[in-house]
């Protein structure tokens, strides 16, 4: 019993020392819910510019045309390679030049970045990559 009390003291000491490293309770999986606003979605249509088909998360950029000019470049984040492949978002289907429509949760900090919920591909395929941002 004495040992348990002392052990509890050690743990309590650690808790006092480490408040700066407390994990936000909402952060259930990686950066998705901390980075992206789970309360709203944006729909973007454009051409894929570049693809980083890599672990732990795949990123790609799309150019969304606006009235004149080059349009806005959006950076889209999605799943790991194994998950993406299981859902059908293969390297062959996600290529630069592909015209896609994505539904995604926009970045909380207002940057042109978003976490992918669903994507429509040039071959007509529609994939739901993630049902919620959590």
């Amino acid at each position: 019993m004495r040992l348990i009390v002392r052990f509890a003291g050690v743990i309590a000491g650690l808790a006092i020392l480490e408040p700066a490293f407390a994990v936000p309770p909402a952060a259930a999986h990686h950066t998705f819910v901390t980075k992206y606003d789970s309360s709203r979605k944006v729909t973007l249509t454009g051409a894929v510019v570049s693809v980083r088909y890599a672990n732990p998360h795949i990123f790609f950029t799309i150019r969304v045309p606006s009235g004149g000019g080059l349009g806005a470049l959006w950076r889209i984040e999605t799943e790991s390679i194994p998950k993406a492949q299981a859902k059908g978002l293969t390297r062959e289907r996600l290529k630069p030049g592909a015209q896609v429509t994505v539904t995604a949760w926009p970045a909380r900090d207002g940057r042109a970045e978003a976490g992918l919920s669903a994507i429509r591909l040039p071959d007509g395929g529609s994939l739901t990559m993630r049902g919620s941002a959590r």
């Binding site: 040992l3 002392r6 050690v10 490293f21 990686h30 672990n55 790991s80 390679i81």
Partner: protein, 163 residues
């Protein structure tokens, strides 16, 4: 992001880094090894530090250390290797990540604490090897070690939540 060091860009562009990034399963395998290594490191250090705090004084400190430390070093080698490979896959971003930087700084501190313990405190272990209360310096080193390793684990986990 400020201009990244050319060496980091070169590392991230290397074939090894590309293999870690692009292979379907290599990254999760490395993450798994990193967890196993962490278990060995933190498990051994946790058991050792509790003894240094004065728990289970019937256990001889030297025998416990001889039993645990080779596994701690094995785990450290596993994590140095797996961690280096994971780092390479996205070297520029990892190097700029505040949580990663904090983790590396904390690793230096925990190394200094361990070296100080080995040279200054463990040298006299014969006087308190079993039965006797460990000196306050040993307890202080143990508390520091537990606090730093907890912070290292937390900082490592926070890398995924911070850019």
């Amino acid at each position: 992001m400020p201009e990244a060091l050319p060496i980091l860009q070169w590392l991230a562009a290397s074939p090894v880094a590309a293999a870690v990034r692009s292979s379907t399963w290599l990254y999760p395998v490395l993450e798994t090894l990193h967890m196993i290594g962490l278990g060995l490191v933190f498990g051994g250090i946790f058991a050792m530090d509790l003894r240094l705090l004065g728990l289970h004084r019937e256990l001889q400190v030297r025998r416990l250390s001889d039993h645990l430390l080779p596994w701690v070093w094995t785990g450290f080698a596993v994590n140095l290797s797996s961690g280096l490979l994971l780092f390479l896959s996205d070297a520029v971003a990892f190097a700029a990540n505040p949580a990663f930087q904090a983790k590396m700084a904390l690793l230096v501190l925990v190394g200094l604490n361990a070296a100080w313990f080995q040279r200054r405190i463990y040298a006299d272990v014969g006087e308190w090897d079993s039965g006797a209360p460990p000196p306050s310096s040993a307890r202080a080193a143990a508390v520091l070690s537990l606090a730093l390793w907890t912070a290292i684990i937390a900082a490592g986990r926070m890398i995924a939540y911070w850019e």
